[in-house]
């Protein structure tokens, strides 16, 4: 116990040292500050440190204070009205009531009434003068110090706020006077020592001074050799300070990109605004497909429509109408150029894959080739806890003569292992531009459940032969990234991902895969 107390004493901050001799088993902050000769905020800081060390407990106490108002302040300077009157009466020996007002410099007439009351109470006789006016008559009464005046003088020294303790009679008197003072409730702090604290109080604090800071001067002169530094309490918390950082979604995106780059994939980039031609027609989505309807797609108001690429447009139109040269029957309808030209916000990044296939034909991209993107797509939906109108799609294609359905499973399985999902399963699915199509579920080992995450398949010949110019198998997949994000960061409401809440951005864990 004593040893602990001594070690504790050694590590005290100068401020703590200052207040320590003045600590009582119980006391208030105000008293302590006064006794130690420090500011209340300083004493409070020291008390908090000592509380952290288990020396004492701080309590919040509500106390009543008397706050002096304007009239009270005036009286403190000029004297109370009754004192003025008494002084005058003593001089004149007789004072008509009508003249009292004149005797009160700077007071209004309303002060007269209370003053007469006071004088009567003091036992000063009230008479009628010879000419029939009511008046006071002086008798030799012992003049005592007025406790109210003493209270006001005390308040003047204390910024017009005083505690009520011990001066109750004077306070009562003062409160009766209108506009002189009022009682306010004030939150105050008090403390009481713990057993440790009582032990500490017994330890003799050495007067020896510790150094607070290692200064450049000490280093220059070598004074540090004779210096003992005050030990800190290195176990307590310090104020939080957050550094700058990338958005947590971008941290995840960068990781996902890195996985595909490690697999030898090339990143695809392109515009967010696309024509219906590239976004849908080139992928053999029929022009009357329900997904094209207004409620799902953001169409652009102005410019309402774009331009169609010459050569590839002709081939896409043919494949829709009659299968073109792909060996397909096609959709067998009249293809509308007007529909194709409509500008929209891309509904999927599969549009980038379609444009990559077109670039392969032009010799701008490699064949065989593997391509990916992690980027924004749009859906015209109301923003709520499970819907976003902008989100990210992870897209990938593998273009190669020898690519097969088994490889699709191979790539996705390898990717998800790196994302923390040890196994996948695939089920038949449907997308207008893939055949065979597959839905991919991944196994979440923590929650022990399958999650539906990916749409995938092999692009239809109507897509590949039309865009590349020859029929090369193209494995393709697309998945919403936000589902991966919310699960990793344990976010329940999708809106919280893009709310830019400073507290969240500062404190959310890093992407640690």
């Amino acid at each position: 116990m004593t040893k602990d107390a001594e070690r504790l004493a050694k590590g005290l901050h100068p401020l703590e040292r200052k207040i320590l001799p003045h600590l009582k088993p119980e006391g208030t902050l105000a008293e302590l500050a006064k006794a130690a000769g420090v500011q209340e905020v300083e004493a409070m800081r020291a008390l908090q440190w000592l509380e952290n060390k288990g020396v004492l407990k701080i309590q919040s106490k509500e106390r009543q204070v008397l706050v002096i108002k304007d009239k009270g302040k005036h009286a403190a300077k000029e004297g109370l009205p009754e004192q003025h009157v008494i002084a005058l009466l003593k001089k004149k020996k007789e004072l008509p009531v009508a003249e009292i007002a004149k005797a009160l410099p700077g007071y209004d007439k309303q002060a007269v009434g209370p003053v007469t009351g006071k004088l009567k109470k003091l036992g000063i006789p009230f008479i009628t003068t010879k000419d029939g006016k009511p008046a006071f008559k002086w008798i030799d009464i012992p003049v005592q110090a007025n406790p109210v005046e003493a209270l006001l003088q005390e308040a003047a020294k204390r910024n017009w706020k005083v505690t009520i303790k011990g001066t109750e009679a004077a306070v009562k008197d003062l409160l009766k006077r209108q506009g002189y003072a009022e009682v306010q409730k004030q939150k105050g702090k008090a403390y009481n020592l713990t057993a440790t604290g009582k032990g500490l109080a017994k330890v003799k604090i050495t007067r020896k001074e510790y150094a607070e800071k290692l200064t450049p001067g000490m280093l220059k002169t070598g004074a540090w050799k004779q210096t003992e530094f005050r030990p800190y309490n290195v176990e307590i918390n310090v104020p939080k300070q957050a550094g700058g950082r990338a958005h947590f979604v971008n941290e995840a995106i960068n990781y996902i990109k890195k996985v595909w780059l490690d697999f030898g994939f090339q990143e695809m980039a392109g515009n967010h605004v696309q024509t219906g031609f590239w976004d849908l027609d080139s992928l053999f989505v029929p022009q009357d497909h329900p997904a094209r309807e207004m409620q799902d797609t953001f169409y652009i108001d102005d410019p309402r429509s774009g331009e169609l690429p010459k050569d590839v447009h002709k081939r896409v139109k043919a494949v829709h109408e009659n299968g073109g040269d792909t060996g397909s029957l096609g959709w067998r309808y009249d293809y509308s150029d007007e529909e194709a030209k409509k500008n929209m916000l891309r509904t999927h990044t599969t549009v980038l894959s379609a444009q990559t296939l077109d670039r392969i034909k032009k010799g701008e991209c490699a064949l065989p080739g593997k391509y990916f993107s992690v980027n924004t797509v749009y859906r015209n939906e109301a923003l709520d806890y499970k819907h976003l109108f902008e989100f990210h799609q992870v897209e990938g294609i593998v273009v190669g003569e020898d690519a097969t359905f088994e490889n699709l499973k191979g790539y996705l399985s390898a990717f998800f292992k790196k994302m923390g999902y040890p196994k996948i399963r695939i089920r038949p699915g449907h997308f207008p531009y893939t055949e065979p199509s597959a839905e991919v579920d991944v196994w979440d080992p923590e929650r022990e459940e399958w999650i539906e995450l990916v749409g995938s398949g092999i692009f239809r010949p109507e897509v590949t032969k039309t865009l590349i110019g020859k029929e090369v198998p193209v494995l393709a997949w697309g998945m919403g990234m936000e589902r991966i994000i919310t699960r990793y960061y344990e976010i329940k409401d999708l809106r919280e991902i893009y709310n830019n809440d400073i507290e969240q951005l500062k404190t959310i864990k890093a992407w640690l895969r």
């Binding site: 102005d302 410019p303 015209n380 109301a382």
Partner: protein, 551 residues
């Protein structure tokens, strides 16, 4: 995608074997339909749009039975001649085709009627695109006298009592007052005449694709024989609809009788349930799937999916409308083979990967700004028009989207700073200073020189916003100076005017001759417009342009 409800009891009866719910769930998922759940007798299952033939209890259980190996191969349907005729003439050009037939010997009960209504609704919703590509009608045969005529009439001439309506009204009133008229009336916008079925006695039977007559077009538990018709603007679509409908009715126990459709210039008999023959490219299928199946195995798998298979050719049932190419056989073979049985193989395709150059550049900018202790924000590209213009004391046209569901997000952003101010506004309850940056895309109308196929110009910019008592020109300038120094770009600052900034505290930044940034202290009125009570110093730098100047 539509979800249908089928009866588990009936499914199991057709399968003829006992399957647990778990086994059923597994098989339904692997058939190529998406099981939503089994509750009591209800199996709720989502049907993909390429398989409208599965939209009925009968179609679904037919496919499932074949898939689990109970009744594989082509299912044959017998069609006899009814000898009846439907005369097709004087139709509106927008709705010029009709096909019809008769199904007899049905035993309707509550469940069966529910099944027929479900099929009719779901086909209408998906395959015929909310009736825009076709309408379907069923009538008790005994209430109709042949020959029936399908013809166009002026709206005022058409008068009958529509289904579940208290009285007889004309066509215009139907579109105005009947629930189905209100729902689908838009299809007939601008038509001079409306198509109607009229029987030999002159009774109006229906007005496709809106509504049947209550008097002669309503089937109930007493109905055994029915007249079925499909009408619309595309012959193929309605022929296929009729095939799906009649085969489902036949599976219910009905017998199919054809009707002769008499068009002014030709005659056809429907339904036509003859399977189509198509050569199977076995090598193609094996290559795509990465398998080495024999022709016989492929044939067996096709039969599991309900196809016939003879001499290397597939017989495609009339209700299978999704077979356009060999790839479609490949998928069905894969399903029958079992998706779960494919191996996971990484192919030996050597390629050189790489990140997009510009994205890599943006990453560098991101790292440099993080070094300044800034937090990266990520806002939507869609934002409110007024937030970018009026509230910033500006007036210009942004790129707006049509009919946005959220009116708060009605246009693509032309600049990033308003997004950052909105983010700061949402963080008012936290302590200051608050410093954000964002790298993102902005949108404006393209000029011919921009060579944009959509007419929209897209550029990437970075914006930094310092917010707090000490956020001033010097502080923000220090960030931009440092960034440009490290990007090795020589920039010149020139005094300028910009309504969003305090006059005299805003500069335009040039790299070479190109203006690349605005930098300054935001105007107090702008801050007031966003309800901000802290100064903001900010810049927005065009990375698309700066990227081209990199040494």
């Amino acid at each position: 995608m539509p979800t249908i409800t089928v009866s588990k009891k009936e499914v199991l009866k057709t399968l003829g074997k006992k399957l647990s719910d778990e086994q059923l769930k597994d098989r339904i998922g692997m058939l190529g339909t998406d099981l939503e759940g089994i509750e009591g007798d209800d199996i709720n299952v989502e049907i993909f749009p390429n398989r409208p033939d599965l939209l009925s209890q009968q179609g679904f259980q037919r496919a499932l039975a074949s898939f689990v190996g109970v009744k594989p191969g082509l299912k044959k349907y017998d069609v006899k001649k009814s000898g009846e005729k439907v005369i097709v003439k004087n139709l509106p050009k927008e709705w010029s085709y009709a096909v019809a037939c008769i199904v007899k010997g049905l035993k309707f009960d509550d469940q069966k009627i529910k099944e027929v209504v479900q099929l009719q609704e779901k086909l209408g919703m998906t395959f015929t695109r909310n009736r825009k590509k076709g309408g379907i009608g069923l009538y008790p045969l005994e209430k109709i006298s042949f020959p029936v005529t399908f013809t166009g009439k002026k709206p005022k001439e058409i008068k009958f009592r529509p289904l579940e309506f208290p009285r007889e009204i004309d066509a215009e009133q139907i579109l105005e007052h009947h629930p189905k008229g209100k729902e689908y009336g838009f299809i007939m916008d601008g038509w001079k005449t409306y198509p109607v079925f009229v029987d030999d006695k002159g009774t109006y039977m229906s007005m496709p694709p809106i509504i049947n007559s209550h008097d002669v077009g309503k089937i109930d538990e007493t109905t055994t024989d029915i007249f079925v018709e499909c009408t619309g603007p595309h012959l193929r679509t309605i022929v296929e609809s009729l095939a799906m409908l009649t085969t489902a009715l036949a599976d219910m126990g009905g017998k199919i009788y054809s009707i002769e459709m008499v068009y002014p210039d030709k005659k056809f008999s429907y339904p036509d349930l003859t399977p189509k023959k198509m050569r199977v490219d076995h090598a193609y299928i094996n290559k795509l799937l990465g398998l080495k199946l024999t022709n016989a195995e492929i044939g067996k798998y096709l039969e599991r999916m309900g196809f016939g298979y003879e001499n290397g050719k597939a017989l495609i049932p009339a209700y299978r409308t999704d077979i356009l190419h060999q790839a479609d056989f490949a998928e069905d073979v894969a399903i029958a083979y079992g998706y779960e049985n494919f191996k996971e193989v990484i192919p030996n395709i050597a390629t050189v990967g790489g990140a997009d150059k510009f994205e890599t550049f943006c990453d560098k900018v991101r790292n440099l700004l993080v070094g300044h202790g800034l937090l990266e924000a990520k806002n939507f590209h869609l934002i409110n028009h007024d937030a970018q213009t009026k509230r910033m004391l500006l007036n210009f046209n942004t790129i707006k989207v049509l009919h946005p569901v959220s009116l708060e997000y009605d246009s693509l952003r032309a600049w990033i700073i308003p997004s950052l101010i909105e983010a700061l506004q949402r963080n008012k309850r936290y302590e200051y200073p608050q410093h954000f940056f964002e790298i993102g895309r902005v949108f404006s109308k393209a000029k011919p020189a921009d060579k944009s196929d959509t007419g929209v110009k897209e550029q990437v910019r970075v914006a930094v916003a310092l917010c707090g008592e000490d956020a001033d020109y010097t502080a923000i300038r220090q960030v931009l100076d440092d960034l440009l120094t490290k990007l090795n770009v020589q920039a010149v600052y020139k005094e300028t005017e910009h309504p969003s900034f305090i006059p005299g505290r805003v500069a335009r930044v040039y790299v070479g001759k190109e203006a690349v940034a605005y930098i300054g202290e935001l105007h107090p009125q702008v801050l007031a417009n966003f309800d901000m009570t802290m100064p903001i110093a900010t810049f927005e730098l065009n990375l698309s342009v700066v990227g081209q100047h990199l040494a």
